[in-house]
Structure formats: C-alpha cells, structure tokens
C-alpha cells in the first residue's frame, strides 16, 4: 500500500501581520504516526491547513506525496447526507455495487450498524466522530490528518475512540498526523510526538516512542513519554 510522505523545510506562515508559524522543519515517512501538541492558538490547525494544501505557506518548502484527508476540529460531516451518504463521499470512483459493499463494511467497522440511514444531527458526538474518521479512511487516502478529533468527547469515550482508531489503522495502515491538546492521547498513539512553542510557533521538542502496540495509557513506556512531554511543555508536578 502506498502511503504519503511529507517533507517541510524552513516553513513559516503569517496571517497578515500575525506571524503564526516560524521556521518549521519536519520529515514524516510513509506509514508514520506523528502527533503534534502545543498551546492553544499556537498554529496547529494552521499547520494542518498548510499540509493539506488548503493554505499556501508564506515562505519555505513543503513537499508531499499522496492524497490527504482531514478530520476537522469543527463538525465536518455534511448534515444533509446520512451516515451512508457521508461515508460514500470517500469512494467517488467505485461503481454502485462495490460502493454499497465498501460503505456497509465501514459502517460495521466504526460500529454504527443500524444507523446507516441516520442523519448526523441524530447521532451522538462520539458517533459523529467515528463517521468522520470512517469517511476519511473510506477508499484509502494516503495521509490522514486529525485535528483534535476527540476533544469534544468525555474521557472514557476518548479512550475507546483511541482504541478504535488504532484498530482501523491496523487494517488500513497509512501516514497519520494527529493534532491534540491531550498529551496522553499523543503518547499513547504516536510513533513520534512534536511539541510546538507559543506563537510564532516552532518545534521545540521531539520525542520518539518505541513502545509496541497495542498500547495502554498506563503502559510504563507511555507514562514515561507523557512525563517527558509535560516537562518539555514547562509543567513540573
């Protein structure tokens, strides 16, 4: 399976006079899971917009292979489409019969059997989030970008969703960039965690995490990594 790679050199971005990102260097190899944490307003969502090609950087070089899809911070499901309809958006090239099969397969994998014909407003926050992730994974994008995908959910649901994301990715491995406020989430899921500084943000800390999967939040390697990241962000108990 071809998955995308990303290479960024000396990338900076400003909105008008507001400098948001400053001199970012980052290489992501195919299949890698990278998590980005940082203070609110530091430019994490902006970085994803740049990576997906929605914004053009003010300066610097950004190279990328493969297609990208983003699971957005705000509700990105189309409210006029059912669960099935939203999932089918991910499969534009299939004929009707294979599309139906692929959609019902994905409905099963995100645990929404019986809700195929439901509209997003009739789903819970966690269900909607699963549909969004399912839609992004339908039809195989190379790079999956997640912008605080679980931040609106309660703690237990968040833990469950992490497990489900891992399971989905095991079936369909791909490059993942996860933006999150939740440091535990980053260290439990990612191969590598990057910490951004305050605005204008650059990468101030980087940690590789070599704990084998599946990982539990309470696994020693994950706990150590969480402590290290917290320390890098200036939090000392």
């Amino acid at each position: 399976m071809s998955t995308g790679s990303i290479s960024i050199k000396g990338l900076s971005h400003s909105y008008g006079a507001t400098a948001v990102l400053k001199d970012i260097h980052l290489d992501v190899s195919p299949g890698e899971f990278v998590a980005i944490v940082g203070p609110s307003g530091s430019g994490k969502s902006t970085l994803l917009s740049l990576l997906s090609g929605y914004l053009k950087p003010t300066s610097g070089v950004l190279e990328r292979t493969g297609t990208t899809r983003t699971v957005h911070q705000a509700d990105g499901l189309y409210p006029w489409l059912t669960v099935e309809g939203n999932l089918a958006l991910g499969l534009p090239k299939l004929d009707a019969a294979s599309k139906r099969r692929a959609v019902s397969d994905m409905v099963g994998r995100i645990g929404l059997t019986g809700f195929e014909k439901a509209f997003p407003h009739a789903l819970s926050g966690g269900m909607r989030q699963r549909v969004e992730i399912g839609r992004a994974l339908c039809g195989g994008t190379d790079v999956l970008m997640l912008d605080e995908p679980f931040s609106a959910l309660d703690y237990l649901t968040r833990l469950k969703m992490r497990g489900e994301l891992c399971r989905l990715l095991e079936d369909q491995p791909r490059t993942v960039i996860l933006v999150t406020h939740d440091i535990e989430e980053a260290t439990q899921l990612a191969d590598r965690v990057l910490v951004l500084s305050e605005r204008p943000a650059s990468i101030v800390y980087e940690l590789k995490i070599d704990v084998p999967r599946p990982r539990d939040v309470t696994a020693p390697g994950v706990v150590d990594a969480t402590k290290a990241v917290l320390k890098a962000m200036g939090y000392e108990p």
């Binding site: 090609g53 899809r69 509700d75 189309y78 006029w80 489409l81 509209f119 407003h121 009739a122 992004a136």
Partner: protein, 259 residues
C-alpha cells in the same frame, strides 16, 4: 408520547378555529347590534350573499384562477432565475461586485413604481402583473440565496476539496444542499411577496383577478364583494405557505431545523 402527539394535532386545529370563530362572532354581533354600520363594513349575511353571487356567476372561479396562474408564473420565473443567480453571486466575486448594487437598488424600489412602464410596455392584463411579480420577487430571492451561500461554514468547502468535489459538483452537491433549509425560508417569504404584488398589480394593471375584483367592487361601492376578494386572497395565500411548509419535513431539508 402518542397521546401528546394527538393532543398537539387537535390543538393545532382547535386554537386557530377558536381565534377565527371569535372574530366571526364579534363581526356578527357588531353588525346585528348596529355597532358596525353597513356603510362601513358589510354584514356577514351580505358577505355570504355576495360570495354566492360571485360563485354562481363563475366570475369568482375565473378571478381566482387568473390570480393563481399569475402568481404561479411569476413565482416560477423568479425562483428559476433567482436561485441560480443567487448561487452565482455567492460564489463569484466579480458577479457580486457587478450586480449587488443593482439588485439592492431594485429591491429598494417598490415594484409598484414599475406599474406605468408595465402598462406602457406590455399593456393591461396577464403579462403586466407577471412582470411586476418577477421584478419584486427575483431580486429578493437572489439576494437571500446569496446570503445563504455566504453563510455556509468554511469547513464544508475544505471537506469538498479533500473529497474531490469540484466545479459543478461543488455547486450541486455542496453549496445547493447546504443552503436548502434557508432556501425554503426564502421561498416562503418570496411567496408572500408575490401575493402582495399580485393584488396591487391587478388593482392597477389588471382586468381580471382577485385584486381586480376588489378594485371593481370599490368602484361599484360593493363592500360585500371587497370582503369576498380579501377573504379569498388571504385564504389562498395561507394555503400556499402551508404547502411550502411541507418542504421543511423533507429529510434533505429537515436537518436545518432539527439542529
């Protein structure tokens, strides 16, 4: 749950019936007791007689059909042109810059100001009334469609980009469904406007129709027939709005009201 549902649907008939019933009662009492002189307002009995007369002669049906067909034609033309125009205005900056002032000018200009030209160009009758309806409804529909497009959350366009919805698909599969709930509201407002303009247009530039019926009755001092025209216009306008309201129950539209 079920009994609540039944009670609601009974109430939705009962309450309006009470309102109208009370008004009828007041009208009847005021006329019978002589508080309301026949010189100022017809009695219920005169109204019924007038209604029967108009109905029996067939002229009520003829006027109603004339009015309905004008509203239908003017409305259809306005929607068919106004909605696409509004979508273009909402998505193409150049079109917006070029046409927005003109549309705002037209909207601020009362359609009735066009009556002299409508008669001068088209002549009294069908065409002139339809022209007046279109000149009133089209700018309103186009402008509020445009506003609806401007209000679409940015994230829908980013999703469209991720999922390769470009060009015509962006228009038909993202922009159009995204504005549908607001479009239904626009369509209801525009329908009300069409009725208003139809009446005024027929009074001044028509020779048939319910508006003309009122105009004609006024000339003949037939207060009863004026009220017959008024009642028909009000009832039919309500009916049209009701029909459009059914649209809000469609699954592709209801999401806009259920959130």
């Amino acid at each position: 749950m079920d009994t609540k549902h039944i009670r609601n649907s009974i109430n939705s008939w009962l309450y309006p019936s009470l309102t109208f019933g009370t008004l009828l009662l007041i009208w009847w009492l005021a006329s019978a007791r002589g508080y309301l002189s026949e010189q100022f307002f017809p009695t219920p009995a005169a109204f019924v007689t007038g209604f029967r007369e108009e109905f029996a002669s067939g002229s009520l049906l003829r006027d109603t059909l004339a009015s309905l067909s004008r509203v239908a034609a003017g409305y259809a033309l306005s929607v068919a042109a106004g909605v696409p125009l509004g979508m273009i205005l909402g998505t193409v900056l150049g079109a917006r810059l070029a046409l927005l002032p003109l549309l705002n000018f037209l909207r601020s200009l009362s359609p009735l100001a066009w009556i002299p030209f409508a008669i001068f160009w088209i002549g009294i009758g069908h065409g002139a009334v339809i022209f007046l309806i279109v000149i009133a409804a089209l700018p309103t529909i186009a402008l509020s469609t445009m506003a609806a497009v401007a209000g679409i959350p940015k994230v829908y366009f980013r999703v469209a980009q991720d999922y390769d919805l470009k060009g015509i698909h962006r228009l038909t599969r993202v922009i159009f469904p995204a504005i549908l709930p607001q479009l239904v509201t626009t369509l209801r407002v525009a329908m009300g406007l069409c009725w208003l303009v139809m009446v005024a247009g027929e009074m001044l530039a028509g020779n048939t129709g319910l508006g003309y019926l009122i105009h004609d009755a006024n000339n003949g001092l037939r207060l009863d027939l004026i009220v017959v025209g008024m009642v028909m216009i009000g009832l039919l306008g309500m009916l049209c709005d009701r029909l459009l309201m059914f649209l809000t129950r469609l699954p592709g539209i209801r999401w806009g009201y259920d959130r």
